[in-house]
């Protein structure tokens, strides 16, 4: 049940230098893969590009074949009200349940806003959010 809400994010290692994002994005474009959401986390001289895409397995294979270091990371996508208090609702649910958010990023599309979360206890988080009336992206949406 909870498993159907675990979304596969692709995480790509990238050196911190001009042209690396262009190379990643270009590869996905050429493979006809659409990016729903992405973010970049940076450290000392390198970063990790995180993305939700419509065909994660194809994206993984395409980028790996090009020599990129890619891995899947389990995240969840929570639908947010696109108005003041939307983020607060969700963060409160997790905070109350003692679930830690490792990182998050969000997008706001035509079907509303979505918060993508990497948490330490993913199945617990799913139960808590559903139990308190929250709505989650189905993993099957991106396939």
């Amino acid at each position: 049940m909870e498993k159907s809400y675990i979304v596969k994010q692709i995480s790509i290692f990238s050196e911190n230098r001009p042209g690396r994002l262009a190379a990643i994005a270009g590869a996905l474009r050429d493979a006809g893969i659409n990016i729903f959401a992405f973010s970049i986390a940076e450290a000392d001289g390198f970063g990790v590009v995180r993305a939700l895409v419509d065909r994660p397995d194809d994206a993984h294979r395409t980028l790996t074949d090009l020599g990129f270091r890619v891995s899947f990371t389990d995240v969840i996508g929570v639908k947010m009200r696109d108005e003041p208090g939307g983020l607060s609702d969700i963060a409160s649910i997790l905070g109350d349940a003692g679930i830690n958010i490792e990182y998050a990023y969000a997008y706001s599309g035509k079907d509303g806003a979505v918060l993508i979360l990497r948490v330490d206890q993913v199945e617990d988080a799913i139960r808590q959010i559903l139990g308190r009336g929250g709505e989650l992206l189905k993993a099957s949406l991106s396939r």
Partner: protein
């Protein structure tokens, strides 16, 4: 001893060479090597006969780790120093009480040669501990009655305060640190008026560096040469003429060879310095390949002392000197190959930032084991830096790069790019 006549010197050298070879025969390595070369120390009747003897290489010292090359029982050894090995383990150098006496006598000789004595206040701003530069100079300076400040390295502002507050007249450090010191002193508005002599060693430096150091620190700058395998600093030193270094022939038998063929070169020709120490008890060595490139200088020095060597102009191997610390690329490779997180390739860049050497190592990640988490990468970077620090004794900047992104080499890999230029 410094101005001994050539004939007397040769007699003394031969006598000491014979002693030293018998000392070497107490070591398993030399029993084997002499047997393989089909030569016995008794066949060495002239100084030129030394050519019949096999060379000793640094890697052989490493293979004897830790105490395999000592010619005396450990109870007679009163001190241990180490120096970087070519891979993995360091090279261990032992000293008997007599060795320490010989060594400080040489340092004392060098310092007396340039006019230093009990009126001088000496700041020894090099690494103490396993590095030979600290304790070596320390005891030599005490021997001639100098007032010694064992300031060691680091905390440059404090070093400058001490020079000023204690009225320091002589400083010993690496030339690059001296330049850094000058810069910090200038920024503090200090002129360091008491300083008159600078002794610089542990890394090669140029005549233009000499000019700059003398101008900015207000010192006369002297070049000091040595290596841990030959006790440490003190093997050769500039006299006030400052045109070449007097190498102490009563303690070291010097040859210059072609590093490719091993053939001895004619006087004046530039090649690899090979030394047979003549008075070392704990770690006798025979025809040790220093890897340092120099030549024997013709002609007598105006000071009346013996034959000089030219200032070291380079290395016959790939050893690097980073902030005075010897580093072999093979050591870096050894560390990286042992780490599963690291891929096939790495490149080392050496730069000079504000007069101090910086080593940056670009490391390809291995294809396996990427978790996708930034913190795991940061942890990996820290681990690699830590392992390198353990082995090299040196802080490096590790850059993680994508697999396949570094250049591949056909034939001999060029893994080191030294962008420092001459100092």
């Amino acid at each position: 001893m410094e101005t001994i006549r050539p004939g007397e010197l040769a007699d003394l050298q031969l006598e000491r060479l014979k002693w030293s070879l018998h000392q070497a025969l107490k070591v398993g390595l030399y029993q084997r090597k002499f047997k393989e070369a089909g030569v016995s120390p008794d066949e060495i009747r002239t100084l030129d006969d030394v050519e019949k003897l096999p060379f000793t290489y640094k890697k052989e010292l490493r293979a004897g780790y830790p105490f395999g090359l000592f010619a005396t029982p450990l109870k007679e050894i009163v001190r241990i120093h180490t120096t970087s090995g070519t891979t993995g383990k360091p090279t261990v150098v032992g000293y008997t009480r007599q060795d320490l006496e010989n060594w400080s006598e040489l340092i004392a000789r060098n310092m007396t040669m340039i006019g230093l004595g009990e009126d001088d206040i000496f700041q020894n701003a090099v690494n103490y501990g396993l590095f030979t530069g600290g304790l070596g100079f320390h005891y030599g300076a005490e021997k001639i009655g100098m007032t010694v400040i064992p300031s060691a390295t680091g905390n440059t502002r404090r070093q400058i305060e001490m020079i000023e507050d204690f009225g320091v007249t002589v400083i010993h450090c690496t030339p690059s640190y001296a330049l850094h010191l000058a810069e910090v002193a200038e920024s503090m508005g200090k002129t360091l008026d008491t300083l008159k002599t600078g002794i610089f060693g542990a890394e090669p430096w140029s005549e233009s560096m000499r000019t700059e150091l003398e101008r900015r620190l207000g010192v006369k700058a002297y070049d000091s040469y040595g290596l841990s395998e030959m006790y440490g600093p003190g093997v050769a030193f500039e006299c006030p003429e400052r045109n070449g270094l007097h190498i102490w022939h009563d303690c070291y038998l010097v040859e210059i060879i072609d590093p490719e063929t091993g053939e001895r070169l004619a006087p004046g020709e530039r090649g690899e310095l090979v030394i047979t120490p003549l008075v070392k008890e704990a770690l006798p060595l025979v025809r040790y390949r220093t890897g340092d490139v120099t030549r024997l200088m013709d002609g007598e020095c105006a000071c009346g002392r013996g034959l000089k060597i030219e200032r070291i102009t380079g290395r016959s191997d790939d050893m690097l000197v980073i902030r005075g610390i010897n580093v072999f690329p093979s050591q870096i490779e050894h560390v990286l190959r042992a780490l599963p997180e690291v891929g096939e390739q790495f490149i080392v860049y050496i730069d000079r930032v504000k007069h101090l050497d910086e080593m940056t190592i670009e490391v390809e990640m291995s294809r396996a084991g990427f978790s996708g988490e930034l913190q795991d990468l940061a942890r990996m970077q820290k681990k690699i830096t830590g392992e390198l620090h353990n082995t090299l004794g040196l802080r490096t900047a590790v850059k993680l790069v994508e697999p396949g992104s570094l250049p591949r080499f056909e034939g001999k890999a060029k893994r080191v790019t030294d962008r420092r230029g001459a100092i």
